[in-house]
C-alpha cells in the first residue's frame, strides 16, 4: 500500500492550519469532502481563505461552505457563487457578508477556472475575454486589464494564477498505489494540479493499479499529486455516492441555519455532537 493512506480523517484534517487557502470543488457529483470539513470545523481552524472551484452552489457543496463560514473558520471567500442550490440561499454566507464578518472576492466561473488552470500549469497569470466593464473586474486587485500584445488597442483582462495551499475533495475510489479515480469529475484534477497540498477522501480503496486498465486510467489523478488519502465510505454525505443529494438533510440544515441559534444547535447535534459523544 502506498504511504499516502493515512488511517483517518483526523490525520487529514490536521494538515489544514489556520490561515491556509482551501479550495473546494463545486459538488455537482459526489466530490464533497463533508466528513473532512466537519473535522476541520471541530479542529477550530480559523482565518481560512476559502476558494470555490468555481462555485459551491449545489446543495451539499453550498452546505459545506456555509457550515465552514457559520462556524467562524473563514476569513475570506473567493467564489462565483455560494448557495444551497434548489434548497435556496446559503444563510450563514449571506449573513456573514451582510455583517461584514467575511470578505468576499466575487469572481466568475471561467475566471476562477482559468486562474486555477494557469496555477496548475505554473503560468503566472491567465488572460480571459469578458469581464471588462463588470464590477467583478473593477473590484479585484488580482485582476488587471492590459493591452492585448497581439491586437493592440484591445483591452484584455488578465487574472493572477491561483495556487491554493490546500485542495480537498471526495472521490469514488483510489487504487493501492494512491492513484485517485475521478472519472470525468475533472475539476478535482485541476484543483490537485494547482494546489500545494491535496487531501482526498474516497469511498473505497481498491486492490488494483488503475494504470493496468486503459479505460480507468483516463479518469485518474496520479498519486504524486496527492498528499494524503483517507478511506471514508459515505464521506460525502448528504451527497450520496451515486451523485444524488439527500435533500431532506439539506433542507433541515437550510431551515436551522436561518438563525445563528438554529445553526449553533444544528452544528452541536451534527458536527460537535459526534465529537462530544466520543469524548
Amino acid at each position: 500500500m502506498s504511504d499516502l493512506f493515512l488511517p483517518s480523517i483526523p490525520d487529514l484534517a490536521a494538515r489544514v492550519s489556520s490561515g491556509a487557502s482551501l479550495m473546494l470543488t463545486k459538488g455537482e457529483g459526489p466530490d464533497t469532502p463533508m466528513e473532512l470539513v466537519k473535522q476541520i470545523i471541530r479542529n477550530n481552524v480559523r482565518d481560512l481563505h476559502l476558494i470555490t472551484l468555481p462555485t459551491c452552489a449545489n446543495p451539499v457543496s453550498g452546505m459545506m461552505a456555509d457550515m465552514l463560514i457559520g462556524a467562524g473558520c473563514v476569513a475570506s471567500v473567493e467564489t462565483a457563487g455560494i448557495s444551497l442550490g434548489e434548497a435556496g440561499a446559503a444563510p450563514r454566507f449571506n449573513t456573514a457578508v451582510k455583517d461584514g464578518t467575511i470578505t468576499v472576492k466575487d469572481g466568475t466561473c471561467p475566471a476562477i477556472y482559468a486562474a486555477v488552470q494557469a496555477g496548475g500549469k505554473a503560468q503566472p497569470f491567465a488572460p480571459l475575454r469578458g469581464l471588462i466593464g463588470s464590477d467583478i473586474e473593477a473590484m479585484r486587485d488580482d485582476y488587471k486589464v492590459i493591452d492585448n500584445p497581439f491586437n493592440p488597442g484591445e483591452p484584455v483582462a488578465v487574472l493572477k494564477a491561483i495556487n491554493p495551499d490546500i485542495a480537498a475533495f471526495h472521490a469514488p475510489c483510489a487504487d493501492r498505489n494512491g492513484n485517485v479515480w475521478i472519472g470525468r469529475q475533472r475539476d478535482s484534477l485541476y484543483a490537485a494540479h494547482a494546489s500545494d497540498t491535496v487531501l482526498v477522501t474516497v469511498e473505497q480503496v481498491m486492490d488494483c493499479d488503475f494504470y493496468d486498465d486503459p479505460a480507468m486510467v483516463a479518469g485518474v489523478i496520479p498519486s504524486f499529486y496527492i498528499t494524503a488519502i483517507a478511506e471514508a465510505p459515505a464521506g460525502a454525505m448528504p451527497m450520496n455516492a451515486d451523485g444524488k443529494p439527500d435533500m431532506d438533510q439539506v433542507r433541515a440544515y437550510a431551515s436551522a441555519a436561518r438563525s445563528a441559534e438554529g445553526f449553533a444547535a444544528w452544528m452541536d447535534a451534527n458536527v460537535h455532537g459526534t465529537l462530544k459523544a466520543a469524548e
Binding site: E28, E86, T108, C109, G133, G243
Partner: protein, 245 residues
C-alpha cells in the same frame, strides 16, 4: 378537453422562438422554464439541437471539467444561454451579487456564476426575471455582474437579445443599448408593464400580445418535453405538467 394553458408554457414557447437554427444551447442552474423552452426547441429541431443543462453531470457532456462549457462558448460553440439577475437595468446590466454598497450588502445573493463571460461570448443570451417589479427591473443596478454592452474595442460577439418576465417580452436593441417592448403576455396591459418597470424602454407603435402555444406546440410541451423536464426538475414538472419523472 385540454387543460388551460399555463404561463410557464407561454414563456417557454416564447423562449423557443429565439432558438431557431441553434446547434447547442446551454441552460444554467435552477432554470426550469428556460430549460423547458430549450427542450421545446430541441424537439422541433429534428435532433440537430443539443441542450446541455448544467448542475447535473447526467445532462451535461463535458469531459474536461466544468471549464469546458466556457471554453466551448468562447470558441463559438454555444449559441444560446439564459441569465437572470436580482436586478436588471435598462442598459441590460445584470446584478447577481446583492443590493446596497459593495462589498457589504443589504441583501446578498449567491454570486455572478458565469455571467461575466457568457454574456460577452454567447450570441443569443435571453434574460429572464419572472418577478417584474420596480425592485427587480431598475434604472441602474447596484453591482454590475455583467454589462449589457461593451465599448467597440472590447471583444464581444455576444450579448442580450431579449428579456422575458411575467408581464411581457422585451427585445434588446444593441445599437441603442436599451430594451424595446416586443409583446405583452395575455391578460396584462401596457400600463401594468410601465407601472412595474424601473427603467425607460422603447414602446413601438405596434406591439403584440405574446402568442400562446398552438395545439401542436402544447402537445410537444406536455408530451416529450414534459418527460425530459421531469427527469431534471421533478418538482417543477409535477407542478406545471403534472408529469412524474
Amino acid at each position: 378537453m385540454t387543460d388551460p394553458i399555463r404561463p410557464e408554457e407561454i414563456y417557454a414557447t416564447a423562449i423557443a422562438g429565439f432558438l431557431h437554427g441553434a446547434r447547442h444551447i446551454a441552460v444554467g442552474m435552477a432554470s426550469p422554464i428556460p430549460a423547458t423552452g430549450a427542450l421545446l426547441a430541441r424537439e422541433r429541431s429534428n435532433g440537430t439541437l443539443r441542450v446541455s443543462i448544467l448542475g447535473n453531470p447526467k445532462s451535461t457532456p463535458w469531459t474536461n471539467g466544468g471549464a469546458e462549457l466556457f471554453d466551448l462558448a468562447g470558441r463559438g460553440g454555444i449559441d444560446g444561454f439564459f441569465l437572470s439577475g436580482g436586478q436588471i437595468d435598462g442598459q441590460g446590466n445584470i446584478n447577481l451579487v446583492g443590493v446596497g454598497d459593495y462589498p457589504e450588502a443589504k441583501v446578498r445573493w449567491s454570486g455572478s456564476f458565469g455571467s461575466a463571460y457568457l454574456y460577452y461570448v454567447v450570441p443569443r443570451v435571453i434574460l429572464f426575471r419572472w418577478e417584474h417589479t420596480r425592485r427587480t427591473l431598475v434604472e441602474q443596478v447596484d453591482f454590475i455582474s455583467a454589462p449589457g454592452s461593451s465599448d467597440p474595442n472590447v471583444y464581444r460577439p455576444g450579448g442580450p437579445v431579449a428579456l422575458i418576465t411575467n408581464l411581457c417580452l422585451f427585445d434588446f436593441d444593441k445599437d441603442r443599448k436599451r430594451f424595446r417592448l416586443n409583446s405583452i403576455h395575455p391578460g396584462h396591459s401596457l400600463e401594468e408593464v410601465q407601472d412595474n418597470t424601473g427603467f425607460d424602454f422603447e414602446i413601438p407603435d405596434q406591439f403584440a400580445t405574446t402568442a400562446v402555444p398552438d395545439a401542436e406546440t402544447l402537445g410537444t410541451l406536455r408530451g416529450p418535453v414534459a418527460t425530459r423536464v421531469a427527469g431534471i426538475y421533478p418538482g417543477f414538472a409535477q407542478q406545471v405538467f403534472g408529469a412524474a419523472a
